[in-house]
């Protein structure tokens, strides 16, 4: 089945077929939500901020330039919405070592079954994965977002650099430093 490209849809929306924007939302809501969730770590807030990002994108659609992929542009908008959220909430402490993990988050880990035939080993891995995820939540924002974009969103260095508006070298530096910080947080099992 033929599928309209992002650019075609955007053009139609700009021509007045506003309802078609819902197609773009449906197309990108999962990756954007994942990214936002990776930053704010609260499902309800992540849903709200993701919606807000799409609304902002709709009203800024005239300023969208073809030089970026729509997805990259969306990530940038979502990032700004999240930064506004952090400023508003004044929760810099969010990045402190006391970030709680919500019940929902724990449930989601419950669905994850790591590879490995030994059930005991599997449980150990699951606990370890949860610790890794919690440690990611404790990283400073700039480190956390490169981890999320690289490992959760599976984006290339170049894409991450475009979203963060920094050179590729900076992305690699952030990733390196983020992993060093993670090893520090996770202790001897990863050091």
């Amino acid at each position: 089945m033929w599928e309209q490209s992002d650019r075609e849809i955007i053009q139609e929306v700009l021509n007045g077929n506003k309802d078609l924007f819902a197609v773009l939302v449906a197309r990108y809501e999962k990756p954007i939500f994942n990214y936002v969730y990776g930053l704010v770590r609260q499902k309800q807030d992540a849903e709200d901020l993701t919606q807000e990002a799409f609304v902002k994108a709709f009203f800024a659609l005239k300023t969208y330039k073809d030089s970026f992929e729509f997805s990259t542009w969306m990530y940038r908008i979502a990032r700004n919405v999240c930064l506004d959220y952090f400023r508003r909430q004044k929760i810099r402490s969010f990045f402190s070592l006391n970030t709680p993990v919500g019940e929902e988050e724990e449930d989601e880990f419950g669905d994850f079954l790591p590879e490995g035939k030994d059930p005991e080993e599997g449980v150990l891995k699951e606990e370890l994965l949860e610790r890794v995820s919690q440690a990611v939540g404790q990283l400073p924002l700039k480190f956390r977002e490169v981890i999320v974009l690289r490992y959760v969103e599976e984006l290339s260095y170049e894409e991450i650099a475009r979203i963060l508006d920094v050179p590729v070298g900076t992305v690699k530096t952030y990733l390196h430093r983020a992993k060093a910080k993670l090893r520090e947080l996770l202790g001897e099992e990863f050091s």
């Binding site: 506003k18 309802d19 924007f21 819902a22 939302v25 449906a26 809501e29 999962k30 939500f33 994942n34 969730y37 499902k43 992540a46 849903e47 993701t50 919606q51 807000e52 799409f54 609304v55 709709f58 009203f59 988050e105 989601e108 880990f109 669905d111 994850f112 790591p114 370890l128 994965l129 890794v132 995820s133 990611v136 981890i147 690289r150 490992y151 959760v152 992993k179 993670l182 090893r183 996770l186 990863f190 050091s191």
Partner: protein, 160 residues
């Protein structure tokens, strides 16, 4: 160990929104596309209140509630007759439901009465030996509909 951390990072769970966000997004867009007054109603109210506040502070427009209009005022009515030595003088007005209230003689020709009235405008007159006489000291009078006139008393301190 580097590899081990990589493996775990690659397995970080992907979280999905609990529902499709498209309907909510489109509803928000529709909400924000409403006429600007409705969208900014709150700001219109705040702006209006700010303008009113500034006007209250900087102008003499009657914008502030006049607390002095509440409560009673003491008004002293004095009537000095041109007829020598009248026997009775009373006052009647809408403040007394047009019932006559005898006035107190203060000298040979003058009578006085102290009333407690709320601020406002009242019509009244004197009954001098039973004859209706408008207040000669009042500057304002209105026809009473019976061929005579009533005086007008404005209670904010002065009798007109």
């Amino acid at each position: 160990m580097e590899e081990r951390l990589e493996q775990y990072l690659q397995r970080l769970p992907k979280v999905e929104p609990g529902r499709s966000l498209a309907p909510s997004v489109m509803a928000r867009i529709a909400e924000r596309e409403r006429p600007s007054y409705r969208r900014y109603k709150r700001w219109v109210v705040v702006f209006g209140a700010a303008v009113l506040f500034v006007l209250m502070l900087t102008t003499n427009l009657p914008l502030t509630p006049r607390l002095e209009l509440f409560g009673y005022r003491t008004v002293r009515l004095v009537f000095c007759s041109t007829v020598r030595n009248p026997k009775t003088v009373a006052v009647a007005g809408d403040f007394s439901d047009w019932e006559s209230i005898p006035m107190e003689r203060i000298d040979e020709n003058c009578f006085a009465l102290t009333l407690r009235l709320r601020p406002g405008k009242y019509e009244y007159g004197f009954l001098v030996d039973g004859k209706w006489v408008p207040d000669p000291l009042s500057l304002r009078a209105v026809a009473d509909g019976f061929g005579s006139v009533n005086s007008v008393l404005v209670v904010d301190g002065d009798t007109e």
